[in-house]
């Protein structure tokens, strides 16, 4: 249309045109103002569909009738696909138009324009393409098909739409807004993702910390339980427990100090002297030795007894057991222990020791006295016998009546008393004049005894057999005497018309005991006398029947006792006698210890 056309048109037409122009401009202004709302509604939306829905509303408010409005967005494969269509369900149609425009090159051209591009020959009607782009990247494309029949626009107006004008400006605002809103939505989405991830991480971290917290609380609770249990135990134990922190020079005492020693915590103190100053001076050396030993040992354990001063001033015996801890460089760091009051036990032990020592001393004195008495008795007795002999020798022929017989009886009694005293001396010698305990052969001892008895043995026509007698730790002289007395007994108490048969045998019993059995075929004795025969001066048979003082078996018992053994006898009249000697021997055949 040319400017010089106006004078030919009527005034009415020009007025109508201006009015229409004015209305359109007013509408455009109005819409431009409402665009602010578009921005407001879409800027904070995270949902692209909602943004497109909003944008579609604005597009439809434009004073152009569109038969198809579609927003294409770029999918993951960088392809433009319809994201929103008006009317709904026209996606396929829209794609057909897009394909057509792509093929014609219009689509690519529109991408570069950043303004509405009108494509008049697009099939169903003129099409407006507008790229949805931000400064950084393309977000999509608006494709709107103008309804050529219902649209108010004339062909000229359509032309105008393509150039900077009110509607194209509005369309650009909508498209820019939409593009930015889409970008914001994506950025916000990413931000939200990031935020969510961060939140998850934070939550995970928190959960982890919480779990650790629970575990720690459990551990603390367990330890508190253990501590309480320990404290209860210490309390129930009722003994004094202490912890000596050596480097700090400090001792922590348990409550029992008050009840057992009478010191209040203040009186007790907590420095080194609280312990050292209260120990009995006589015990310091032994404690020092025990501690040195513990210090040098691997485990650092000590176990000792000493006297500790009560608040009253008297000393009590304590049993102290504890453990020393060293630092890596070997320095003593800590000593913990338990002090147990053993005063009652210790006192009774001391009393017992004193009594025992007293008993041993008095026993020894008694034995010594018996020894000396019998020894001294022998002297005058010897003289009685000798002078009696002399009397008989020099004046026997002149003695009248029964004087000689009386003298003879006196002499016999004196001689018998000599035998008794000699045996009593032997009995007492077993303990007062013992020989050494040595490794010796019991077989040799028995042989020696047999050899000493060779004369009566030969006279009796009997036999003595030895078997199984081992080597043991014993007093050889006493073992010879033991065998001698038992064998002498067997030969003495023989059957009148039977040659004596005696067997001496040894056998190892259970756990370190040796049994020696002496079995004879003599006259035997009643079982009820089995214990009595071992008592001094006990004789079962009449004096006229058999010689002897009744000391032989008593001496045997004494010898066996000195070797910490047991002697017993079994018999029945006319069935022979069996003497049993049980001697303790350890693995090496040694008596447990040297008898005192």
């Amino acid at each position: 249309m040319a400017a010089d056309d106006y004078p030919q048109t009527g005034l009415r037409e020009r007025l109508d045109f201006l009015e229409g122009e004015y209305r359109r401009n007013l509408l455009a202004m109005d819409m431009a103002v409402s665009m602010v709302h578009l921005h407001g509604r879409t800027s904070f939306t995270r949902n692209p569909a909602a943004i497109l829905e909003e944008a579609e509303k604005y597009v439809r408010q434009l004073p152009v009738t569109f038969s198809l409005i579609t927003f294409l967005t770029i999918d993951q494969d960088a392809l433009f696909t319809p994201a929103r269509c008006y009317p709904a369900g026209c996606e396929a149609k829209a794609e057909g138009i897009v394909d057509h425009l792509v093929a014609k090159g219009d689509f690519a051209w529109a991408l570069n324009q950043n303004r509405p591009l009108l494509v008049k020959d697009a099939g169903d009607g003129p099409v407006i393409l507008h790229v949805l782009t931000t400064l950084s990247r393309v977000r999509g494309m608006l494709l709107a098909v103008i309804d050529p029949f219902s649209s108010l626009l004339s062909s000229d107006e359509l032309d105008n739409l393509c150039f900077p004008g009110v509607f194209s400006g509005l369309l650009s605002i909508i498209c820019h807004n939409t593009a930015y809103a889409l970008e914001s939505a994506e950025l916000y989405g990413m931000l939200d993702d990031l935020n969510n991830r961060l939140q998850h991480q934070v939550v995970d971290g928190l959960l982890c910390i919480q779990a650790q917290n629970v575990q720690l609380r459990q551990e603390i609770s367990d330890r508190e339980d253990a501590l309480r249990k320990y404290a209860d135990l210490v309390h129930a134990l009722g003994e004094i427990t202490y912890e000596h922190l050596v480097l700090e020079g400090r001792i922590e005492w348990s409550q029992a100090v008050k009840t057992m020693l009478g010191y209040s915590p203040e009186e007790m103190g907590s420095d080194d002297a609280s312990w050292t100053s209260r120990i009995h001076p006589d015990d310091l050396t032994s404690i020092g030795v025990a501690f040195e030993v513990a210090r040098a040992s691997e485990e650092g354990l000590f176990d000792l007894e000493y006297r500790f001063r009560h608040a009253d001033g008297h000393y009590l015996w304590f049993h102290d057991r504890g453990c020393m801890q060293r630092s890596e460089d070997g320095r003593l760091v800590r000593v913990v222990g338990v002090m147990k009051n053993v005063h009652v036990r210790r006192s009774s032990e001391e009393r017992l020791h004193r009594t025992l020592a007293e008993l041993q001393r008095s026993n020894q004195e008694l034995e010594q006295f018996a020894f000396s008495a019998s020894h001294d008795l022998r002297e005058p007795l010897r003289k009685i016998v000798t002078f009696g002999d002399l009397l008989m020798e020099e004046y026997g022929h002149s003695l009248q009546g029964e004087a000689g017989f009386y003298l003879e009886r006196m002499q016999q009694s004196a001689l018998r008393m000599q035998d008794l005293i000699a045996d009593l001396l032997d009995y007492s010698r077993v303990t007062t004049r013992p020989g050494d305990i040595r490794r010796m052969s019991l077989h040799e001892a028995a042989e020696a005894a047999v050899s000493q008895l060779s004369e009566p043995l030969a006279a009796s026509g009997g036999q003595i057999r030895l078997s199984g007698l081992p080597t043991v730790w014993a007093d050889f002289g006493q073992m010879v005497r033991l065998f001698y007395n038992m064998l002498d007994n067997a030969l003495t108490f023989r059957q009148p018309d039977l040659a004596p048969e005696v067997s001496v045998s040894g056998e190892t019993l259970h756990a370190g005991w040796l049994r020696i059995t002496v079995q004879d075929n003599g006259i035997g004795f009643e079982e009820k006398y089995a214990a009595r025969i071992f008592k001094p001066f006990q004789r079962l048979h009449g004096k006229e029947k058999n010689d002897g003082t009744g000391m032989g078996l008593a001496i045997c018992q004494r010898i066996v006792s000195r070797h910490q053994g047991l002697i017993s006898a079994q018999s029945a009249p006319g069935r022979g006698a069996c003497f049993i000697v049980d001697l303790p021997v350890d693995a090496n055949g040694r008596p447990d210890k040297e008898p005192s």
Binding site: R378, E379, R382, V385, F387, D389, L390, R433
Partner: protein, 150 residues
């Protein structure tokens, strides 16, 4: 027995009068014809011997010493040690004649040079036998015949 020969004698160190008496009787009974001289303890024994050793001829010394162990003042154990340490007197045989049956006494006596160790016998007959044997062994005496010498 000729005049120039000192009679052989036994010196008995014995504190007990009875034992001395009985020994004397036994020597008499055994008819060995030996003098029994008596001192009462170790001190007297040494005095006697040292004096004889210094003044008289060797024959003046006893042919045998019968030494009791348990005596007052200087006992037999001490006397034995001194005697055995003396250059001349150590040649005299010393027979311990005691009631002690202590094994330690026996050991110590022999260790210090005792010639013999004899327990005092209980019976008089045994005492006679002991004295006779001692004289035979250490003094070489010949028992005098009880009947008149030819």
């Amino acid at each position: 027995m000729t005049a120039d020969l000192c009679p052989v004698s036994i010196l008995m160190a014995e504190d007990d009068d009875d034992d001395y008496l009985l020994t004397q009787k036994a020597i008499h009974k055994s008819a060995v014809g030996i003098d029994l001289i008596r001192v009462k303890n170790g001190e007297e024994l040494m005095d006697y011997l040292l004096q004889r050793d210094a003044s008289g001829p060797p024959q003046a010394l006893p042919g045998l010493v019968l030494l009791d162990l348990n005596m007052p003042r200087v006992d037999g154990r001490e006397a034995l040690r001194v005697l055995r340490a003396h250059p001349h007197l150590k040649a005299i045989p010393v027979v311990i004649f005691t009631t002690s049956r202590d094994a330690e006494d026996v050991r110590q006596s022999y260790r210090h040079g005792a010639s013999s160790f004899i327990h005092k016998p209980t019976t008089f007959q045994e005492l006679i036998r002991v004295v006779t044997v001692l004289c035979h062994y250490w003094l070489g005496t010949v028992e005098l015949p009880l009947k008149a010498a030819p």
